[in-house]
């Protein structure tokens, strides 16, 4: 997503991990961890000119 935003013309692209995100069911959480799944907060701007 970070790369897609930059390639689409966005600037000031930033991301931070959502610290408390997790799945409720252990099996889903375990599978998510195996794939390195995490939630992020992404911010970006369309250039002013």
């Amino acid at each position: 997503m970070f790369r897609l935003l930059e390639e689409s013309g966005f600037t000031k692209v930033k991301s931070v991990v959502v610290p408390n995100f997790r799945f409720k069911k252990a099996a889903t959480q375990n599978a998510a961890e195996a794939y390195g799944v995490k939630a992020v907060l992404l911010t970006a701007s369309r250039p002013a000119a």
Binding site: L5, G9, K25, V37, K38, V40, L41, R46, A48
Partner: protein, 203 residues
């Protein structure tokens, strides 16, 4: 149309139905068990101000199915136009409406027309002005350069065509406009079995 394009189109149609079914289920059955946190429990987990959750309509809070808190960086100002991409039952849009104020405008976009009805009902209960459009994030039904801020919460990951979604966000934003969105990302390429399973993709 090539075979692979036809297969992708078919899978997207199935996925659309599955997304509508899953999030409709959260809205219709907020006391139900899902593999993700939802409702007030999820919102509190992600740092939503408890005063917001007390002030917002119960129907919007209990159907919340986000993955984080886009309001931490959205900095919505009075008079701004906000797009809530994948607005669900409307909690994030209603919170944005409080910052945009009576001179601002908040537009929700959702695949599911019944979610738009919920948004309108919840917005009316909370006394804010929030519109909702039925539509796809890959073809946002808004004019070019018409939006100051896009917020979104756990939605873009549901699309097979994320590049197109991002291009649409760029198109509808005014120059100098901004995005604040929370979403799920994966460090590893998902297996084809996950990609081909709409139930897993929709979650």
């Amino acid at each position: 149309m090539t075979d692979s394009a036809a297969a992708q189109e078919s899978l997207e149609a199935v996925l659309k139905d599955e997304i509508i079914r899953m999030y409709q289920d959260v809205a219709d059955n907020p006391a139900g068990e899902f593999h993700f946190y939802h409702g007030r429990e999820a919102a509190e987990l992600f740092g939503y101000d408890p005063d917001w959750l007390d002030r917002a309509p119960v129907g919007a809070v209990e159907s919340f199915a986000g993955v984080g808190n886009p309001h931490l960086r959205s900095h919505v100002q009075p008079g701004e136009t906000v797009l809530d991409l994948g607005s669900g039952a409307g909690l994030d849009g209603i919170i944005a409406s409080w910052s945009a104020g009576p001179t601002g405008r908040v537009i929700g976009l959702d695949l599911n027309p019944s979610m738009c009805l919920k948004v309108q009902a919840n917005a009316a209960v909370s006394g804010v002005k929030m519109e909702c459009r039925e539509g796809r994030m890959e073809e946002i039904p808004l004019e070019d350069k018409s939006v100051d801020v896009v917020i979104s919460n756990g939605v873009v990951n549901l699309s097979f065509r994320k590049r197109k979604v991002v291009q649409e966000l760029f198109r509808v934003l005014k120059p100098g406009g901004r995005i604040s969105m929370t979403d799920i990302v994966s460090a590893k390429q998902l297996s084809q079995s996950i990609i081909n399973d709409p139930k897993l993709w929709a979650s």
